[in-house]
Amino acid sequence: MNFREYKVGSRAFGLAFGLSMSITLFFPSFDLAASISSEVGLDKQLTSGWDSGWQIADPFLNGLNKPLKVLVRKDPKSGEPMEPVYAYVYPAGTSLPNGVTHTANLGKGVEELSVKQGRITEAKKENGAVFLIKKSDQLLTFEDKPLSYVENATATKGWTPDEVLKQAADSDILHAGSGKTMFVREGCWWCHTLLPEQTQDWQVFGAPPMLGDFNGESPTAFGSDRKGPDLLHVGSRNASREWMMLHFFNPRLVQPHSIMPRFDYLWGEVDADGKKIDFKKWRSEYDEYREGKITTPPDVPMYAKDSEIRNLIDFVVNLK
């Protein structure tokens, strides 16, 4: 016995299922593929690098294989002061972002400018690269805003990753790429969306994202189940690192009604001075403070420069 008497049914099933696949996958793919990367989109993908979820180069999501976003104040070649500009530094061996390896991802116009004027196809993973975002004078987007494109400063200006990092102060280096990995690994997006809705929502949380704001970003981590404020523009509302530090260590220090978990474990073993952090002591003192036995909470230890919380704070304050 076989499906013989169900020939019509099987074919009808194939037709119906195939049709629904076409409508939901094939047809939208033309629209999605036609999206032209905005300046926001370029910034996001250059900041977060190849991928922020699981990848072979970072199987346990430790924030490896990630670029650095650096505020360049002095010309890395001559050392002369210059108009500050953000550079996206990919040290040698760091995977390049999707828009550089697959330039079609940048969208019409941005791709041509980035390849011809920005010379991004000359960037090589082995040597590393430094990217800048440039504005063109072409008015091509549907909003008639000037197109932005990616410039490979290693090819156009001779800036190498090492030179750019050498002249930058530590406070000018944002580990926002690794921070996005922390954001994904720690599941921040289970409670905080990165998608203000097209409602009154956006008057508090900022404008909803536009088409072209996500090209090359993966995962987008929009979130679906909001239990805290939207964070897409949180860096514009509050860019205080001190506040973020207190809030991550124990959210109840700055917001007594918060239900956010403590992320003190992201501090690691030692603080900024290399001293071991005594979490047990901190918690017992905090409990005494909560019970009213002491009037001030214990001090939050300053995080070390290479701690995971530094990456996460860099990511959060960079969400403009």
Binding site: S20, P28, W50, N98, G187, T199, Q200, G228, Q255, I259
Partner: protein, 469 residues
């Protein structure tokens, strides 16, 4: 003890071994999944409860709860149902008990491995498709494809003329699950990024519910109700309408999960209209099952399996009324991203589908082990704890969601929403804990059924025997 059959000859393996293995695995995963759910809910109600440890952080555990109940409890209960219902309806044996046993063992191994890694934070960062792609491929190769092959081969080797409604659904859903799983994870294999990644994430999430969980759960009801009541299915034509409208309407509205993202507007409008049309299969299903009950409504009170099934079917009514309309722009605007959605998801998975699967597992384990349920009292307690726990959860989260929605559109500072939600977070935790406790009772009851249940004589149905306890 079932493991000794892994290397036995297929003919030497007792009939139903694979289904029994799947049945008990499903109950254990249900206990793990709801235990994690209860623990997570406690953290939302009392944020300083177990804190400061990476492995017990909410963000590390939330997705483990979700995938444990979807892939562990629900899908393994489905596999259990397929392993014994498909052969019965084809008047034959399962094509390969051995494949079934290996399928179940690999399923447990893959899921335990995947969830442990995810607990450590190894994730693709995509909701519902959180496993990294090597694990996705393992899931396809060791879980969904072997299951589908066993089901299809059993149907092909059947000794009946036609194929009954339940088996249409089983055959089609196992096929659609493979396609949905492999296609939905394309962004991970090929590193598709941006809006494509976001859309495909929700394309997967929508279709895994619509083309796997909903139809298979319904297929179980199509079997259990006629089998236990002895009534023939009210209408095969309505069954046809249900089947075809699932394939046509339920496979298309994926974009309605991202109404506030900058997806093409035509796609959102199309998805929204198709989303309302899921009322067609829903009404066909509910009416067909309830009309099959004609003249046997006493069994709704007297018989545990019928009670579970009918409650599941009745819960499909609010589920689909919500599901059909909450995704239209005018309502989605208010409730998207709030606790309402959490309540709705639990109505689908813990209400509608869990009740149907529980009936299948109760009926199947008793039939295959030829043992009458150990204790009706424990069975009743399981039912009521599950129903009251679920209702507490659903009602409290719906209210919390409406508060959140109001807070969203009236621009209330977010912290005031958190404060207003607090009592409902406690209620949700209590409800979830009741559900978790009920699963412990259930596991004990089924374990004792295997050991000490009254032996059912050959040719008799479990419900034809009186309970001894």
């Amino acid at each position: 003890m079932i493991l000794k059959y892994l290397f036995a000859k297929n003919e030497a393996i007792p009939v139903g071994s694979a289904a029994i293995f799947f049945g008990f695995s499903a109950i254990v995963w249900f206990m793990i999944g709801t235990g994690l759910g209860s623990f997570n809910a406690a953290k939302l109600a009392f944020p300083d409860f177990v804190t400061g440890t990476e492995m017990f952080a909410f963000g590390h555990m939330r997705q483990v709860h979700v995938l444990a109940v979807i892939f562990g409890w629900i899908s393994m209960a489905f596999a259990m149902a397929m392993m014994y219902i498909t052969p019965i309806l084809g008047n034959t044996r399962l094509w390969s008990e051995k494949l079934g046993l290996w399928n179940c063992m690999m399923w447990n191994i893959c899921l335990a491995l995947g969830l442990s890694l995810m607990w450590m934070g190894v994730t693709s960062g995509r909701e519902y498709s959180d496993f990294p792609w090597p694990l996705d491929l393992a899931v396809a190769a060791f879980i969904s494809i072997p299951l589908a092959v066993n089901v299809w081969m059993t149907i092909i080797k059947r000794r009946t003329q036609g194929i009954y409604t339940t088996n249409w659904f089983f055959a089609a859903s196992t096929f659609m699950l493979i396609i949905v799983f492999l296609v939905g994870n394309l962004p991970e294999y090929f590193h598709l990024t941006g809006l494509t990644e976001a859309y495909m994430t929700w394309w997967f999430a929508h279709n895994v519910l619509g083309l796997w969980i909903t139809p298979v759960a319904a297929a179980i009801a199509y079997y259990v109700i006629p089998k236990v009541t002895g009534n023939p299915l009210y209408s095969h034509r309505i069954g046809h309408l249900h089947f075809w409208s699932i394939v046509v309407f339920y496979s298309t509205p994926a974009a309605h999960h991202l109404m506030s993202a900058p997806l093409p507007e035509w796609l959102k409008s199309f998805a929204s209209v198709e989303g309302v049309l899921i009322l067609v299969p829903a009404i066909a299903f509910v009416s067909n099952i309830l009309l099959t009950m004609q003249g046997k409504w006493n069994m709704f009170v007297e018989n545990l399996e019928i009670r579970f099934t009918v409650v599941g079917v009745l819960l499909a009514i609010p589920l689909n009324m919500q599901g059909g309309f909450q995704q239209t722009r005018s309502i989605n605007w208010y409730i998207h991203g709030t606790g309402w959605m959490v309540a709705h998801a639990h109505l689908a998975l813990l209400g509608f589908s869990t009740f149907l699967e529980a009936a299948a597992v109760y009926l199947g384990l008793q039939t295959l082990m030829k043992r009458k349920l150990y204790s009706l009292t424990l069975g009743n307690l399981h039912f009521w704890l599950l129903l009251i726990g679920f209702s507490t959860y659903w009602i409290s989260m719906t209210i919390a969601g409406l508060i959140q929605g109001a807070g969203k559109i009236y621009e209330v500072p977010y912290i005031d929403v958190v404060i207003a939600e607090h009592p409902y977070m406690i209620a949700r935790w209590l409800g979830g804990t009741m559900v978790f406790s009920s699963t412990i009772l259930w596991l004990y009851n089924m374990w004792m059924t295997a050991r000490e249940g009254t032996v059912i004589p050959a040719g008799r149905m479990p419900h034809e025997l009186a309970y001894e306890r």
